[in-house]
């Protein structure tokens, strides 16, 4: 790109400095070819500014429908994650109750029954979810955990059934 082209482009983009503006003026006055090139470029430039998009897409409805569906899917996913987390905690609580609470209670009621074979499992659960014990959870917590597990199973089953129905319908 030569100097005159550079100056013409700068002129079109309103980026000429005062010195460059004078330089272009001199070039235009002394060279007829540069003069006509400037005219041509300026005309094209102003026509290009009037150029329009030939398309009329109408996507707002489609976009909003997709957004609604995706939002619902996202919310559903969050519910599922919530249920899964609750389910995991419920199961962990149940195991803890089974291998710790039950063995302690059995030992107090039936002192002759040897439950020492369960001790490795009890120890394992004490190590992994022993925080439940340190928190000294009341008995009602275990009931809540059991109810949570049942509800979780029920919700998962319902969801599975709905999805299955949808697939069959499709």
């Amino acid at each position: 790109m030569n100097r005159s082209d550079e100056l013409i482009n700068k002129y079109l983009d309103n980026e000429l400095s005062e010195a460059e503006s004078g330089e272009l003026e001199n070039l235009v006055q002394s060279d007829q070819e540069i003069h006509s090139e400037l005219d041509r470029s300026a005309k094209l430039h102003s026509n290009l500014k009037l150029a329009d998009h030939p398309f009329e897409p109408n996507l707002s409805r489609k976009v909003m429908d997709t957004i609604l569906v995706k939002s619902a899917e996202k919310a559903e996913k969050n519910i599922i994650y919530g249920i899964i987390i609750f389910f995991a905690f419920s199961i962990a609580g149940l195991f803890y109750w089974l291998f710790n609470g039950v063995t302690d209670q059995t030992a107090s009621v039936l002192p002759d029954v040897d439950l020492s074979f369960l001790s490795p499992v009890t120890e394992y659960y004490n190590r992994s979810i022993g925080f439940l014990n340190s928190a000294e959870l009341p008995e009602s917590t275990y009931i809540l955990l059991a109810v949570g597990a049942v509800v979780t199973f029920y919700l998962l089953y319902e969801h599975h059934r709905e999805v299955r129905t949808l697939i069959i319908k499709k």
């Binding site: 041509r40 026509n47 009037l50 329009d52 109408n58 996507l59 489609k62 976009v63 909003m64 957004i67």
Partner: protein
């Protein structure tokens, strides 16, 4: 009625008026579509990518901090989505099996009406190499500044300027070649 700014619309969408997002869709669909049509050369693909871009933008709105203008931010999403589409294997295979639509759909019309003049200029811009025509479309039709175009395309200001200058030259050459200079100028 006063026209809401992009920022005001975004704030209202984020505060729960989801339906206001349609205002942004209507504001930008035409512009972004032109860009995507140039990239994909296919109406169906352009529409698909644009729809995905709007959905992507909607879910990314909470992360939009307003450091750049919404238009620049959105164009960047559109450009990247278009780029992913045209560089995908499936798209390349599809392209090999079908012919591009643009030439058939937008031939230069020999009528001096303003409407045709505008369409013809768009058609000519589409004949330039992809990056050149994208810069031209964003600069002249969408009214983005050179700095914004650079941000969208990931180019420096200087490179964007060079591309714009070269595009003008190429367009002038095309005008002479197509013998449409009289119609368009």
């Amino acid at each position: 009625m006063k026209e809401l700014s992009d920022r005001e619309i975004i704030d209202s969408v984020l505060s729960g008026k989801k339906e206001n997002f349609t205002i942004l869709v209507k504001r930008y669909e035409k512009r972004a579509y032109s860009l995507l049509f140039r990239m994909t050369r296919n109406h169906e693909d352009a529409e698909e990518v644009l729809q995905d871009s709007f959905v992507k933008a909607y879910f990314a709105l909470p992360g939009f901090k307003g450091e750049a203008k919404f238009s620049t931010w959105f164009y960047r999403i559109v450009y990247n989505a278009g780029l992913s589409m045209v560089t995908s294997k499936a798209y390349k295979m599809k392209q090999q099996m079908s012919s591009p639509e643009s030439e058939e759909a937008f031939g230069v019309e020999n009528s001096g009406s303003v409407d045709n003049k505008n369409k013809n200029l768009y058609f000519l811009m589409n004949q330039l190499p992809v990056k050149n025509s994208l810069v031209m479309i964003m600069y002249y039709i969408d009214g983005l500044s050179l700095k914004e175009i650079g941000e969208v395309l990931g180019l420096s200001l200087q490179n964007t300027k060079v591309i714009l200058y070269r595009s003008r030259e190429k367009l002038k050459e095309l005008l002479t070649k197509e013998e449409t200079a009289e119609i368009l100028l």
